[in-house]
Each structure stands twice: as C-alpha cells, then as structure tokens.
C-alpha cells in the first residue's frame, strides 16, 4: 500500500479500516543468500541489498523488537560536520540520503533540517572550527562560521557572559537537524519488507556456523539458519556477538544516556552543542528538550546509566542556557554504544570468509544509518568496499591508519 494524501483522506472518511500492517511477521526460513544480524543499520542494509543490489533472498534477524536498539534510543541528531577524509564524504553521503529518504521509502521519517550550531568558547577553538568548516565544504557539505553576534541573533537566550566559557562564535550547518528515530526503523522495515526481505524479530543469534574458515550461517533462538553471507551490525553487542565467532575487536561497550524534559513552547531554533563541556540539545516537535552529553565512562552492557552523569550533563545545560533550570526532566534512558579505539566506525570483511562486520559507531551512528546501510550492502553484495567507506577497515590500527577526529588516542571513553 502506497501512502499519500489521497490514501489518508480515503481512510479518514471510511473509518480507517483499510490500513494494513506495515510488514509481515515471517518465520525464519532454513536458508537465505544473505543474513543480516541486528535491525538498526542492519534494517537499512537489508533494504539497500534488495533495492540497490538486487538481492532477493535476504533476512534481517533482530534479538528484540524492531527499534529496540540504539536506532530507537538516540537523540536523533543528523549532521555531516566531520573533518577527516575517511569520514566526512561518508557522512555527507548520509546527509544526502536523508534528504531524499522520505520519497525513497514513501514514509514520513520527519527529516527536519533545522540546522546545527556547534558553539566555540575560545579563539583556538574558533580557529579549529574554521578549519573543520573548510574541510566540510571541500566535501561538498555546507558550513558557515558565525561570530558572536551571529550566534546572538539566532540564540539570544544563551549565556554569552559566562566568565569561564564565553561564547565566541559557532560553526553552523544549516542542512543538519533531526530525524524521528523510530520512524527510520519503521520506514526501512516497511520498504524492505515490500521488496521481499524477511524481518525476523525476537530471534537472537547465539552462534555462527564456521567450517574451514568460512561462515555458512548462524545459530539462533529460532533455529539454525544457513546463509552464503552473514553481516553483523549489533552496535553495543559487537563484543559479545563477535566473540562467538572467536573474534576480539578494537571496541569497548559503554552506556550513553539520553534525556527529555517536559514540553515547552518553541525556544530552540535548531540543534545546539556546548563546546566547553559535552552537552547537545534540540527540541522535539512535542516541545520536550531532547539532550545528552558524555558516556558514563566505564564498560557496560546494562542499558542504563548512573546518576553522576545525569548531574554532569544537566550542569552542562545550565552553564549554556540557564533558562532551562526550572524545566523538569520527564524521561531518562540508556543505550549500549560501541566505542572504538579511534572514535570511528568499521564497515569491513572479517578474516572469516562470508562474515562481514559493521560497528564501532560510538555515540554518533544514527546520522550514519542510510550511508552505513548502503555501504554495508555494497560490501556484502559486491565483496568490495564502497569508496566512501574504504578507510573504515578493521586492520587500520595495525597499519597505523587510525581515523581519530579528536586526536585522543586509543582510549574509547575519551572519544
């Protein structure tokens, strides 16, 4: 069923009885050409495998329900304001895919290009942002350096006179913004299902069938499933899932928390990030302030965080915009993030034939969903990396080719 203003109108006047479920609930078959594990980036991968690479026998296996992973837990910010050549063209591809995604999927994922401003608080930081802005523009992205008055015109409510961290300007990407996270999972699932991809929920992968260095399928809680190729995209679970294939990774699992305040009248012009602490905030269409900050900082598979981080994040918010001090917090939750040794992701083959890995997205992989799905599908279908993901290799540390945007070295909780 294609969604349109006409179907909405027709259903509206006929009691909404004609809507169909958005996807099937198939039992897993015993064999597929390609099995993708995890229904976040994996759901997008399934869609692009069918849509762009003509793969007809594809299953996406999800341990929980669709959207139970980080794809439904993040703070919904999308942007392409990276600097390094291995990253920036990839994220710009992603932003371009976001811009056409609703038409491609025939689904309203609420892409809202309300802009993102990264604030700076010192002269060296402004210089660094100028450099980053130039790198962004070289990749074809948009970037604009704002001075203090430029920021003040857009966000008069910020604490410009903060004695310790005065605001000296900001880097503005107008095409950045937010996208409704659950809708992305649903939109990809519906479109993939339409192309014959089986989304199998409540199906946890518990092991891999590996013989003579070749992966020939997976063991799951719903039986053995054979496959010619297996792609794994399980974010914070990367360590424990790949351990079942005998692999150790340059990844630690950490917990990142997200926060939503009570609904307020529209106050924020777009997404804002504090450059002196770690705090980022946007306002949802319902009015709640959606914000976050640092990861908790220790290995965790608990999907919930601790209170010191809550305090730290809220302090960052208060330093930046004291006006939110009386807004109450409505909800807090956590997600498992796959922090890598250089803060950048992996889209690569493993040393096991037929087994492919996608992970290391740190706290910033939601914006990557379309490009990650596309490039992972490219890798699996063609056995060759997509040019824009060619640097995202698992062996890059061995070769001294880390992609470290922040330059902090191999300590995941600092990225």
């Amino acid at each position: 069923m294609r969604y349109s203003a006409w179907t909405l109108f027709k259903e509206g006047i006929s009691g909404n009885r004609g809507w169909k479920p958005m996807w099937r609930e198939p039992d897993p078959k015993s064999e597929y050409d390609i099995v993708v594990v995890g229904a976040g980036h994996g759901m997008a991968t399934g869609y692009y495998l069918a849509k762009e690479f003509g793969c007809r026998s594809v299953a996406v296996l999800e341990k929980g329900w669709l959207g139970s992973g980080n794809i439904g837990r993040n703070t919904t910010i999308v942007r392409s304001n990276y600097m390094l050549p291995e990253n920036q063209p990839f994220y710009e591809l992603s932003l371009k895919l976001w811009e056409g995604l609703e038409q491609a999927l025939n689904f309203n994922v609420m892409v809202s290009q309300r802009g993102i401003i990264n604030l700076c608080h010192s002269d060296p930081q402004r210089d660094a942002f100028a450099r980053r802005g130039n790198a962004m523009r070289l990749s074809g992205a948009d970037a604009e350096l704002l001075d203090r008055d430029g920021v003040r015109r857009l966000c008069p409510f910020l604490n410009f006179e903060n004695a310790r961290f005065p605001i000296t300007g900001g880097l503005w990407q107008k095409r950045g913004g937010t996208v409704r996270h659950d809708a992305v999972a649903w939109g990809y699932a519906r479109a993939a299902d339409d192309l014959g991809v089986d989304l199998v929920q409540n199906c946890e992968v518990t092991g891999f069938l590996i013989s003579n260095g070749t992966c020939t399928g997976v063991e799951t809680t719903r039986g053995t499933i054979k496959a010619k190729k297996v792609g794994v995209a399980v974010a914070g679970s990367s360590g424990r899932v790949m351990a079942r294939a005998g692999m150790r990774l340059p990844i630690e699992s950490h917990v990142l928390q997200a926060f939503v305040s009570e609904g307020l009248k529209p106050v924020l012009p777009g997404v804002l990030t504090f450059g002196a602490g770690h705090f980022y905030v946007s306002q949802s269409d319902k009015g709640g302030l959606v914000f976050g900050g640092d990861i908790d900082g220790y290995n965790s598979y608990a999907q919930r965080g601790n209170l010191p981080t809550v305090e730290d994040v809220c302090e960052g918010g208060m330093a930046l915009m004291p006006m939110i001090g009386r807004a109450r917090l409505l909800r807090i939750w956590g997600g498992l993030v796959d922090m890598s040794m250089d803060g950048s992701p992996f889209i690569d083959k493993t040393h096991i034939e037929g087994l492919y890995f996608n992970g290391g997205w740190n706290y910033g992989g939601f914006k990557a969903t379309p490009a990650s799905g596309y490039c992972f599908a490219h890798l699996i279908a063609r056995d060759a990396p997509h040019p824009f993901a060619a640097g995202m290799r698992l062996d890059r540390f061995r070769r001294g080719a880390a992609i470290d945007e922040k330059g902090v070295g191999a300590q995941p909780n600092l990225h």
Binding site: G239, R248, L249, P250, G297, N306, P308, N413
Partner: protein
C-alpha cells in the same frame, strides 16, 4: 556505583576515572621479536565481555592511586577492589 577503596573505604565512583581492561598492566616486552604484534594487541584489541570484567580505575579526585576493580558489566555490581600496585607485584613486576 560505590568503589570500596582498600585504603580509604567506600568512595563514590564519580571520584574516579576508568581506564579500561586491567590487562593494560601487562605491558609487553618491547625487545621481543613479536613486539609489534604484541603491542598492537595490547593497545587496541579488547575482550569486552558481558559479565565479570577486571578494569583499572584511577582515584583522580582522591589519593590518586590506581585500583583494579572486578565489576559486572551487566549489573554494575562490584565484587572486588585491589590496589593495582599489589596486583602488578603479584604478577612479578617490580612496581
């Protein structure tokens, strides 16, 4: 989380920073033939288990000692806290 410091007693985890897997104590021998491979594994590759994990914590806002904390990454429960110095000595290290 409360970390039961062997010298100072129970302290709020917020006083500490976490460095990660305690295997970082076992720095490889830089003169060995396979030093390159060993250092690659040491520096970049992790076990990252769900469940019991031994890790290094630094008492940054306290007595600045390094601790080895045995903790459950699924529940955040802390089982054991030792001075990293003593763990290293038990492994035959000078300090």
């Amino acid at each position: 989380m409360i970390i039961d410091h062997p010298l100072l007693g129970p302290r709020d985890a917020a006083e500490f920073v976490c460095l990660g897997d305690a295997s970082l104590i076992e720095r490889p021998d830089g003169r060995a033939d396979d030093a390159l491979e060993k250092f690659y594994q040491y520096q970049f590759i992790r076990d990252n288990p769900d469940g019991v994990h031994r890790e290094l914590w630094f008492h940054e806002y306290g007595d600045r000692s390094w601790l080895v904390v045995t903790r459950n990454t699924l529940t955040h429960e802390i089982y054991n806290v030792e001075l990293a110095r003593e763990v290293a000595r038990e492994m035959g290290r000078g300090r």
